[in-house]
């Protein structure tokens, strides 16, 4: 099963087994990684699952879709590698993915 590393804003790392087919948000929430709220459960309705994809991985995770990009436009501290983690689907190619979490989701 792919492994994903989530790095909290304070530097604390969480390495999580992430089932293929689920989203990067789901894997975090199921393992209670702090810093990803995901209030809407992945319906792309709340923009509280913002992450920064490690630059080494941005090619593999791809770019934000248009709906996601519109939501991200209103998130705090958005960078070029910002994504909503509910919109990144886990594949075998993402084994080893590293994402960093923002200071806050609001």
């Amino acid at each position: 099963m792919p492994k994903i590393t989530y790095i909290e804003n304070n530097g604390k790392e969480h390495v999580v087994d992430a089932p293929v087919g689920q989203s990067v948000m789901e894997a975090a929430v199921k393992h209670a990684v702090p810093g990803i709220d995901a209030d809407c459960g992945g319906a792309c309705a709340c923009a509280t699952c913002h992450v920064y994809v490690d630059p080494a991985w941005t090619a593999k995770t791809g770019e934000a879709g248009s709906m996601e990009q519109s939501m991200l436009d209103f998130a705090n501290d958005v960078e070029a590698n910002s994504r909503l983690s509910c919109q990144i689907k886990i594949t075998d190619a993402l084994d080893g993915l590293v994402v960093r979490l923002p200071k806050s989701q609001h």
Binding site: V29, D37, M67, H106
Partner: protein
């Protein structure tokens, strides 16, 4: 009650509000006992997908779970289910559960949710007549969601329309019966309701508006719905989506103040300072709407209640969001922010024919709500404005030559 005196917390109700409260308390560092009591046989799960991807068969229940079932023991949260709380003894601060056992608490959280209203019609108990709220409800309905089956949905609110959309996507013959003259009458404007009526009609849903069901027909299984005007619609399956009643039985039994839900203050405290109420069952002052009391049935309200209670118990402050809500029907994503009740003007950005537009609601010249269809920027932008007490004039907010983000930044 001060924070340091709280060692035992009981949460009654293991929906999203109850489960999130337990989780937020632990995440926030609460070290005492947490007992979470739920009536359903499975671990806490998200309800919104039930009438969407779960009913479509695209998501298994496991992926609806808020946390894996094993998580509660790992976090030292005593999760008891299916268990029913039957009595609250406020004087001695104890909860009695079915079977007679009594559990002591220092703080009690009521997150008992709501129960779907049942049709008060002859035949409403026939097999094939359902309400829709729980995973068990969805599981009972799913085997009947087969191509060609005749589905009658009674009530054209969000649940009814989402179920109708899934029905059409799976090839059912769908009729929606609604007593009002338009769908979504309680929850949106006539304009936006008209848009959804047209969409569903285009997708092959038949509507009987202003229709009053008289009798559910059938001997052991439902075979049809007779209407008051004499018409009769054949049916293999009837789903009633006619609203919910807050489950206030325990609160009333122990004498808490109940007015359309358990009444609380902004910190979600009931008329007993040791008891909190959150989620669908609770009414609280709406910060962005002159503190008028409202009972909201939404994920936002469930999660926010959980955050507020956890923060209050931990001696912290919790920022309050503008209310938000969403509905998925076909390829349409409706996102709502704010409370539209009492609006006196509506302004549109984009046009309905493009299936991508936002309706902004105003009261006394101030933006109070948005219904955004496939328009996430308009949704989030309006939500941010409402949350920060700002507004934009209708003629400005509808200017499509300027991006929403820029408009929001210019607002005061």
């Amino acid at each position: 009650m001060t924070t340091s005196e709280i060692n035992r917390i009981i949460i009654i109700g293991a929906g999203q509000a109850g489960a999130e409260t337990a989780q937020r308390l632990r995440q926030g560092g609460f070290k005492g006992d947490i007992t979470l009591i739920g009536e359903e046989p499975c671990a806490p799960y998200q309800r919104p997908p039930l009438s969407k991807k779960y009913l479509l068969g695209e998501l298994p229940l496991e992926r609806l779970l808020l946390r894996p079932a094993s998580h509660y023991a790992e976090e030292h949260i005593v999760f008891q289910s299916p268990v029913k709380a039957v009595w609250i003894d406020r004087a001695n601060k104890r909860v009695r559960i079915e079977g007679g056992r009594e559990l002591p608490y220092d703080a009690l959280v009521l997150a008992t949710g709501a129960r779907p209203r049942k049709l008060s019609l002859v035949g409403a108990d026939l097999e094939g007549v359902h309400t829709f709220r729980t995973a068990a409800d969805a599981d009972a309905i799913r085997p009947r969601f087969v191509p060609g089956a005749k589905l009658i949905v009674i009530g054209a609110g969000y649940i009814g329309l989402e179920v109708a959309a899934v029905g059409r996507q799976l090839g059912l013959d769908v009729t929606v019966v609604e007593t009002a003259v338009r769908p979504l009458a309680r929850v949106t404007s006539p304009e936006v309701a008209g848009f959804f009526l047209d969409e569903h009609t285009r997708q092959g849903v038949r509507f009987v508006l202003g229709g009053q069901p008289a009798v559910i027909k059938g001997t052991d299984r439902v075979t049809g719905v007779a209407l008051i005007d004499g018409g009769e619609l054949p049916a293999d399956l009837v789903i009633a989506g006619i609203g919910v009643n807050p489950d206030t039985a325990l609160a009333e039994q122990c004498g808490l103040k109940v007015e359309n839900g358990i009444l609380t203050d902004a910190e979600c405290r009931t008329s007993d300072p040791n008891i909190f109420a959150i989620g669908d069952v609770a009414s609280r002052p709406m910060l962005h709407y002159g503190n008028r009391i409202a009972r909201l049935e939404s994920v936002h309200n469930a999660v926010e209640g959980a955050k507020i209670v956890a923060a209050t118990i931990l001696g912290q402050k919790q920022a309050v969001e503008a209310p938000w809500f969403w509905s998925d029907q076909y390829d349409l994503k409706l996102q709502i922010a704010g409370l539209f009740q009492g609006y006196d003007h509506v302004a549109f950005r984009g046009v309905m024919a493009d299936r991508s537009f936002a309706a902004f609601y105003y009261k006394d010249g101030k933006l109070i709500a948005v219904d955004a269809v496939n328009r996430p920027a308009e949704y989030l932008g309006a939500k941010m404005l409402i949350q920060t007490g700002r507004s934009l004039p209708p003629e400005v907010i509808t200017d499509e030559s300027r991006p929403m983000k820029e408009l929001v930044a210019s607002a005061r």
